[in-house]
Point group: C2
Chain length 381, copies 2
Amino acid sequence: MYNFEFQNPTKLIFGKGTIARIKDEIPAGTKLMLTFGGGSVKKNGVYEQVIDALKGYDVVEFWGIEPNPKVETLRKAIELGKRENVDFILAVGGGSTLDGTKLIACGIKYDGDAWELVLDNSLVKSGVQFASVMTMPATGSEMNSGAVISNLATKEKFAFYSYYPKFSILDPEVTYSIPEYQVSCGIADTFVHVMEQYLTTTGINSLMDRWAEGLLMNLIDIAPGIAEDHKNYDLMSQYMLSATMGLNGFIAMGVPQDWATHMIGHELTALHGVTHGESLAIVLPATMTVLSEQKKLKILQYGERVWGITEGSESERITKAIEKTEQFFRLLGLKTRLHELNIGEETIAEIERRFNERGVKLGECKNVTGTVARAILECAL
Amino acid sequence: MYNFEFQNPTKLIFGKGTIARIKDEIPAGTKLMLTFGGGSVKKNGVYEQVIDALKGYDVVEFWGIEPNPKVETLRKAIELGKRENVDFILAVGGGSTLDGTKLIACGIKYDGDAWELVLDNSLVKSGVQFASVMTMPATGSEMNSGAVISNLATKEKFAFYSYYPKFSILDPEVTYSIPEYQVSCGIADTFVHVMEQYLTTTGINSLMDRWAEGLLMNLIDIAPGIAEDHKNYDLMSQYMLSATMGLNGFIAMGVPQDWATHMIGHELTALHGVTHGESLAIVLPATMTVLSEQKKLKILQYGERVWGITEGSESERITKAIEKTEQFFRLLGLKTRLHELNIGEETIAEIERRFNERGVKLGECKNVTGTVARAILECAL
């Protein structure tokens, strides 16, 4: 096992009817900013519950944080936060709203332009406290310090690290109104988050392997039931909890990580607006295929423990494990091939060019260069 | 899934050579009390590493917190802490040293007698900050707020809840010098901690089931290797990490819990000084047997997923799962029957009497009364 440090201070408040608990967690007299996405929370009753719970607080609202939040939008929220002197931000929405809020919280305490913080995380010295009412499980943002921020002008999308939410409220009932496609993307996103922390060298941390496999098996178990009934409380609770546990550091203790699939997926989103979860469903099976020799032992373990694949030669079992993975995404109703989105050579060439220009070397072994990314994308055609 | 709240602020610092990190975590100028057990840390080099790391701090030492820490001992440490005005306590030792330290930390800030805090946890209003250098993995105390405190005068042993350690340093190399029997007790203790949170009603939280099963399988996987080689870094890391993860709330989210086995085991310790882990190895198989109808579905799930038991009638599979559990403890070299410790009817009658007198109703279904405890102990004879 590798040496590691772990600390996750976020308070999770999970279950039916928990939105009303906001008022117990935010001191009276706090100057609050609420941040929102496009308005779905006004349709599903979440907005009303939040406003009810916050009676008596001095509240300012910021609307319009988009999926894959853009710094162009967030700058406006930072301006508002500075002008109104807010001391606490409550993000009400999905992972994008909360990701954006993480940059807003730091941007309010920063004199320069917020994009500088994204380009150089070490410039983050302080931030306004924030918390979340999570309405769309996927990114784990509700219990980690990370975010992904895009720049419309430069067509770039980068990771950004700041602070943990003070608390996050997860009421599975709010997920009932999420469109089926978004739920599928959330499940795929969670699945791939786990894989990024799992599909590396074998034998580093057997307990983390078991927990990652447990998360994967649980997602596989619940997906068909969710496809049938979006309002099954227990299944939607599992979806919500799994998304949080998939990326809150709990399965990352003392293990190597990969993230090549995510970095390539981000480019598809940046260039074509591909939904994040779907971009991963396209890239992951191809990454596994191209790196199957390097990841051989772990793919075999994954195949056996997660999918029960025990028969056939090593090469056959590897092929089967990758097929099962792609099939899982297809059962979720997601596309798994670039040609289905009319993405082809031009995009592959652009991503290769970008990676080469940036000199990136991605993945556990730092061997996913522009050339390897091309091979992965060609495999995903 | 049940509604739940989860928050665990402890910082875990895990790995080789991490004891030196203490100084980064405790502000300069802090008036420190170090708490210790019987002196094993002077033999294995831990004391030296701690003292080296704390050069420049104003330190007072308290020695002699025994296994199953007694309030009689802890009162002396509280007196010392008050007299010396300490503002931080660093427990250097095993679960007992840290458990005792949790009461010391609260006792220093309390005007009455410390046993009152144990009898009525609601009297705990504040405590001195504390942290740990954990030398004997088992109780999970390094990452939870619980403790178990004994009273020599009244022969009682009760749970006590206070605060989380600010940080805990876990260097697996310090476990190399733990006697084999103590390692076995630690593994058994961890195994039963997981079972107390797992062996309840099925279908409440499928993800927590997977994580609990992962912990159990991991303990089963590592035990033979540890029996062969106490200085295998990777295996001892697994033992140490599993002990922490087994009782830090991570597998307790939104699930019912049991703890009847522990409460009965505590009585064996209180009356006969049976080592905690061994008391659980004796009681658990008997609890499973006596409650096998109530816990039927979960025992079947446990048998199948953890032990691969898929053949035979339900009743045969249940019997086999319980046998496998007892065999696991025996492979660890632990006793699993009361008669092996010369404990018999007299003790059973006393525990029944105590439970009846206290009117306890233990376990998930609050049906483990004095009478049921008698049945369990008779089954463990």
